[in-house]
Subunit: 248 residues, 5 copies
């Protein structure tokens, strides 16, 4: 075993080892932050399920049987869900809003930020009912805090959607992977010759699959296979709200 | 020691090393997310214990001794627990609901989403008591927020049950384990010959046991050994509620 | 250097390396979940300190100077703390309850779940004071939410006490350690001979000390050196409550 | 292969290995704490978006159409956002405050801590409206808790801005990197000669890029590429508030 | 290369490797728990900043201009901050309390637990103002919950100060470091001779610096360089409170 061989063992151990460790830590970090975003998005959709059920139970309990306002608020609530869903994609579709009363429909149509416009409309219904003494102070409070929760959920989903990982990390990671892929064969090829090629392809494939999965996962409001089933959930929420307000 | 030997040392070090590290990180990630789900499920069941005790303490304090409504609401509360338990498995069993009054029983029987139907029934009892001035505004508020908590717990358990790990991760992990098991012997068998076999079996067994444990753990509402003891806990909650409302 | 030697270098590197990494990850996981439990238990005891001070400050502010009810509720609060402490060990000791009024003492004596029975008694005092118009609606609300917090703390401590790590993990970890300890010397002894023995003892000792520490730490309500100083804290809480209600 | 060679293999393995592991753990720790700060800052800005929308929805619902007070409070709210933004940089710019009424402007101009002065002004508007019976107790409560949230967000952003990582860690990390860079070539150069130089440069670059990214990320309120887009967000919040209060 | 050399390569790889990994995990764990404590302490001080501003804004809004009670409560609030600061060190200094009214001063002087005594005094002021109908029910509620928050912050700081890491971990870590330092040279010195000494010193220094930093960091309420700047923050809070209540 000659001096030259030791040199290559060193390089092939040292370079992939140290750079690989640094890359590994960056990949773990990238993966965890992406998953945390995905999971937080899932929690917010769950919170939307809960608040829509609770809102429906509250108005069903507080408003008299057969009240038109009950249906109107329930429709606004359903429209909030559908508006939020498309607001997080390419913009609210007005065809989802067709069950609204005409006056409400026009306001939503002209609004720039449609979810908060719908929340505002629900607020005005609550205030009218409160002024007519159909809702007490305490019931007004219970419903207003639920409107506030709707807005919170909307804002949190927007934050998840609009906040990519800091640019510095994205650049660092891509730069490191490129450097690594360029330098790796220099160390390996001397000893392994062409045998280094499949190894390198596998390593590159693993790294890129983690990066791409992270990029896929951290935008959870689309319609891909890995995205959250918001369409299906919105449909279920609509059915749920309707079932709850039908008990009189 | 010839050139050929160095080649094999390299491969057997490099391939299991780098792929193994990537696999290790994915396995840690898989394991942690599964355990987090299990533990969150356990926390929600604990929250159910707490809210059922607090609900019972509240109605026992607010309603007059011997009140029929007290028993009725306590029964609805117990039924909510049993309904949620089976709702998270294969659907609510109506035989768990037999203590309900007939009118309530029929509504639950026809409801699609039974837990929220029961919460809705509790709400209507509260509203009737409030309209009859047996409950004040503040007491109504205390009980309504507890109904909202019941719905929150239900929604969170549904989220835990219905959200598998993103498909991308599941596929990635299974694909990597297969690749690893196919490539590993190529590197090892040259030097170790048949001696590589037991090592490979042990490694495969370890990896699969972690994956299978994760799959087992992340569905905690069933009846397996590793699932949460929801049946036993529901029984204890029932006894607890009954004991609390028996002090008059 | 012969072929045979390389074989043994391989085995002794490969087997402890890969299995050791898997074991290491499981040990880290075991240790972290145990410590998290311990720390959550410590937080709950801290929450008990805070709620007992706040409860005492509230009743001292709300009730008139020299009120007998103030002392009675403070005694019930102190008994709740002592009852919870022993409830988490081997069951409530009635000798801790001797400062209670006779009527209260008898109820607690017969109760199955003593902490919630005491909370129920505090609730009935609050309701009586409210019906006598000594407490307003808002003050009733402030005290009822504090009773709810007492029950929450009780439930969370019960959860920590009654939830071991999932059986699957416990078994996996013990099984792996045994396998590891059996296989390790096969790899090492050829090269190291009897020199492998102290190394193996040290490794086994390290692993077992982490497992045993985890088992010790995750049951924090006992009286061991590593358990939380609940006895001492309960004594301090009692003194604190008494000092607070003595300012009139 | 002589004794001398083994010595150098040992050193070059041992020193970068053990020190590198320690450095790696410190770098991971440094990176995670910096990112956590950045993400918490992002969450607080999101909370500011939510509270400003909810505040606007509340005052739009509670105050009569065309009310001057509605505009005045909305202006104060907008000014709070702009004041907080510059307060976290180099001090509030009074030119952002020009939409305020003269009396309000003068108070803000003289105030040392401008965001809390603005919150104080909003509070005085709420109290005047409440004394004039335009706001009920419950509506006063809903708005006061929102003012409290504004102050909470301000305090949390100040905490993120003013709390560097403990000095001990900063020193430790810089000291270790220097030691590492000095010692590394001693081990490597014997075997690798000048071949060690590029490896060392790459390792040093990786370490420093992680440290510098962390330093960049953990001060998120500036105007750099990696900072949060507070200017853009403040503009959007202003438009949002105006849109919401324009529905009457 | 003889059999004897392989033996030493094995030992020197195996022993520092496996023990080092175990030590590394324990050091990471030690470091993280210490930092988490430090950061939680920082958060609590931030919460104290927020609650003191909010308390001042509330009393400034609720109480009439020029009210003596406003100044009295603000002084009590400032004293709470100074009392908590020294309570977490060596005991409250009565010279910090000299701005209090005589009656209040005497009560604090005799109290064992001074922060809760001050909170109790604030409570009695609130109750007197409420009985005199200067504060409404809702305003009383807003201020009482803030007193409760003051007590919560006090309790959490006490918890951070009084809870060392479980004894088992402290012992384990010290024991392992000692064993490691004793065994390491046995493995290394054969090959490296005296060359092992500087390596060992560096490794020992790294380990001990992490342990000592952790011990330094986890007691954040003192006056060291690494402690939180509580003195400076208390001064700022005092100025802030005074500024807020000066707007009338």
């Amino acid at each position: 075993m000659e001096q030259k061989d030791i040199f290559h063992i060193q390089i092939s151990n040292a370079l992939p080892g140290y750079m690989g460790a640094a890359l590994g830590l960056l990949l773990v970090f990238r993966n965890n932050t992406a998953y945390d975003k995905w999971w937080e998005a899932r929690k917010e959709l769950g919170a939307l399920v809960n608040i829509s059920r609770n809102f429906a139970i509250d108005i069903n309990g507080f408003l008299p049987p057969g009240s038109k306002e009950k249906t109107r608020i329930a429709t606004l609530l359903t429209c909030f869900i559908y508006a939020l869903k498309e607001h997080l994609r390419n913009g609210v579709k007005m065809k989802d809003m067709q069950e609204l009363e005409d006056a409400d429909y026009k306001i939503i149509e002209q609004a720039q930020h449609k979810p908060s416009a719908i929340a505002n409309l629900i607020m005005s219904r609550i205030e009218i009912l409160w002024k007519e003494k159909i809702l007490t102070d305490m019931q007004q409070y219970l419903l207003v805090t639920k409107i506030n929760t709707l807005i919170d959920i909307c804002g949190k989903c927007e934050r998840i959607r609009n906040t990519p990982i800091p640019i510095a990390y994205g650049l660092l990671l891509k730069f490191f992977i490129n450097i690594y892929v360029i330098l790796l064969p220099i160390g390996l090829s001397h000893d392994l010759g062409w045998g280094a090629l499949p190894l390198e392809i596998i390593l590159y494939y693993i790294m890129m699959s983690i990066v791409l999965t992270a990029e896929e996962i951290e935008e959870p409001f689309g319609k891909d296979l890995n995205d959250l089933p918001f369409d299906e959930m919105a449909g279920k929420m609509k059915v749920n709200i309707q079932e709850i307000i039908s008990y009189e």
